[in-house]
C-alpha cells in the first residue's frame, strides 16, 4: 500500500529492503545453485543493474566474489543485459531491457529471483553471464546484403522503397539480439530473433537478391544451434524489449516455404 501511494504521487521510494535469490555458478563446467542475498538501502530510482552494483560493492567489501552479469550501454540499445527476473526476461515491465528496469517496479520486502537466460544454445559462462554467440552465427549465416564497394556503390537513397516496407524493415532491425525471446519461450525457440533478421532484409529491394539463400541458411543455422521449435505462444513478442512482432515469424515462414519450393 505504501509503495502504491509513493507511485501515485511519483515520489521516490527510499530504503527498500529486499531478498535477492541469485544463480551462482563458478564456470561453464560446474554446477550452479541459487544463493540468497539480503540487501537494503535500495532506492526506487535505481536501475536494476545499479542495485546489483550496490550488492557487488558489499560483496567485495566482505571479501566475497561479486556476482558476474553482462552489461554495456545501460541505455537499452546494446542487448548485453540478459537477466531472467522473477520468471520473466528483463523483469516484469514491458518494452524495457534489464538496464532500463527500475527498482520502483518492486515493493519493499520483495524476494527477487535472478537467473541467467536459459537455453542449451545459451550456455552459462559464469553466474548470470551466458554465451550468445549462437545468435552471431545465425547472423553470419546470411544476415547481410552483399554490396559492391569497389567504387561504383549505388547510393541507398537512389533506390525507392515503399514506406510501409521501410517502416516494417526498420522495426525488424530494432532487434538488439538480447535473447529475451529465447529466454521467454517455453521451447527456447529463436524464431523471433531469426525472423527479425530475415525480415529486415527481405523487405528491402537491396535484400531481395539473396533472399532465397538467406532464409534457408539462417534457419539451417538456427536449427543446428539447438534452439527449440516455435509453437506460437506469443511469449517472445510480449517479452521483447523492442516489441518485435510475430508478423516477422509469419513472414519468415512464407519466405522459407517459398524459398524451399523454388529449390
Amino acid at each position: 500500500m505504501g509503495n502504491l501511494i509513493f507511485k501515485f504521487f511519483n515520489l521516490q521510494i527510499r530504503d527498500m529492503k529486499l531478498t535477492l535469490k541469485i544463480w551462482r555458478q563458478d564456470n561453464a563446467t560446474t554446477k550452479g545453485k541459487m544463493v540468497d542475498y539480503p540487501i537494503d538501502g535500495i532506492e526506487g530510482d535505481m536501475s536494476f543493474l545499479e542495485m546489483l552494483d550496490v550488492l557487488n560493492e558489499e560483496l567485495v567489501v566482505k571479501g566475497e566474489e561479486p556476482v558476474e552479469f553482462d552489461h554495456d550501454c545501460r541505455e537499452g540499445i546494446c542487448g548485453s543485459c540478459s537477466l531472467q527476473i522473477n520468471g520473466e526476461p528483463h523483469g516484469p515491465d514491458r518494452l524495457v531491457t534489464t538496464c532500463q528496469l527500475h527498482m520502483r517496479s518492486f515493493n519493499d520486502g520483495d524476494t527477487i529471483t535472478i537467473e541467467p537466460f536459459r537455453a542449451n544454445a545459451f550456455p552459462v559462462v559464469k553466474d548470470l553471464i551466458i554465451d550468445r554467440s549462437s545468435f552471431d552465427r545465425i547472423q553470419q549465416a546470411g544476415g547481410y546484403v552483399s554490396v559492391n564497394t569497389s567504387g561504383n556503390t549505388i547510393d541507398a537513397n537512389a533506390t525507392p522503397v515503399n514506406k510501409e516496407d521501410a517502416d516494417d524493415s526498420f522495426n525488424a532491425a530494432t532487434c538488439i539480439g538480447c535473447g529475451a525471446c529465447v529466454a521467454a519461450c517455453k521451447n527456447a525457440s529463436a524464431m523471433l530473433f531469426t525472423s527479425a533478421k530475415v525480415s529486415q532484409y527481405a523487405l528491402l529491394p537491396q535484400g531481395k537478391i539473396e533472399a532465397t539463400e538467406r532464409v534457408q541458411a539462417m534457419v539451417r543455422q538456427m536449427d543446428e544451434e539447438g534452439f527449440g521449435n516455435c509453437s506460437n505462444t506469443g511469449a517472445c513478442e510480449l517479452e521483447c524489449p523492442k516489441g518485435i512482432s510475430l508478423e516477422n515469424i509469419a513472414r519468415m515462414n512464407r519466405e522459407y516455404m517459398s524459398a524451399t519450393t523454388e529449390g
Partner: protein, 220 residues
Amino acid sequence: MGGIIKSSVARKFAMALSGLFLVFFLLQHFTINITSVISPDMFNELSHFMGTNFLVQAILQPVLIFGVVFHFIMGLTLEIQNRNARDIGYQNYNGSANSSWMSRNMIYSGIVILAFLGLHFYDFWFPELVHKYVEANPEDPTRYYEETIAKFENPVRVGLYVISFIFLMLHLLHGFASSFQSVGFNNKYSKALQGFTKAFAIIIPLGFIFIAVFHYINHL
C-alpha cells in the same frame, strides 16, 4: 518424423496443415452429428452415405487416419525436441505472465484428445468394422441412429465425452489460430480471423457436448 521434415519451419508448417485438415474434418463430423438431434432419418441417410461411399471409405478415411497419426507423432516429436532445447530449467518461470495456458500445454490437451479417440474408436469405429467386415452383415441404412443414441445412455461415457470436448476446446483455442500463423498468414485480416477461430473453438466442442447430453437426457 522429425528426420523426414528436417527444418523447424517446415515441421511447424506440416503441423499446421495437418491441424487445419483435422479442423475441417471436425466441422464435417459435427454437421452430420447435429442432424441426430434434428432428424433421425437424415442422420441415418448421411451416416449410411459416409459408411458405404467408395470415395469416403477408400480415400478420405485413410487420409484422415494418416492425418491424425501424423499430427500426433509430429506433435510428440516437436515436444521432445523442445524439451531437449533447455536441459536446465528456470527456478522461477512465470509463463502465465506472457502466454496462455492453452498455448503452453498443447501436448496435454492433445494427449487427452488422443485418449478420447481411443474411446471413440472403441465405441463406434471398431464395432462398425466388425459389423461390416467380420460379421459381414447386410447393409441396413436405418441402424445408425439407434446404435448411436444407445451409446449415450451411459452417464460415465457422456461424462468422458464432455471432459474430452472441453480439452478439445482448449486445444483448438490455441491451435486453430496458431496454424494460420505457422503457414505465414499474419496480416490486417488476422484479428478478424482470430475472432472466427476462437468462436469456432468454443462453438463446435460445445455443440458436440450438447449432442451427447441431449441424447442422454432424451433417454431418461
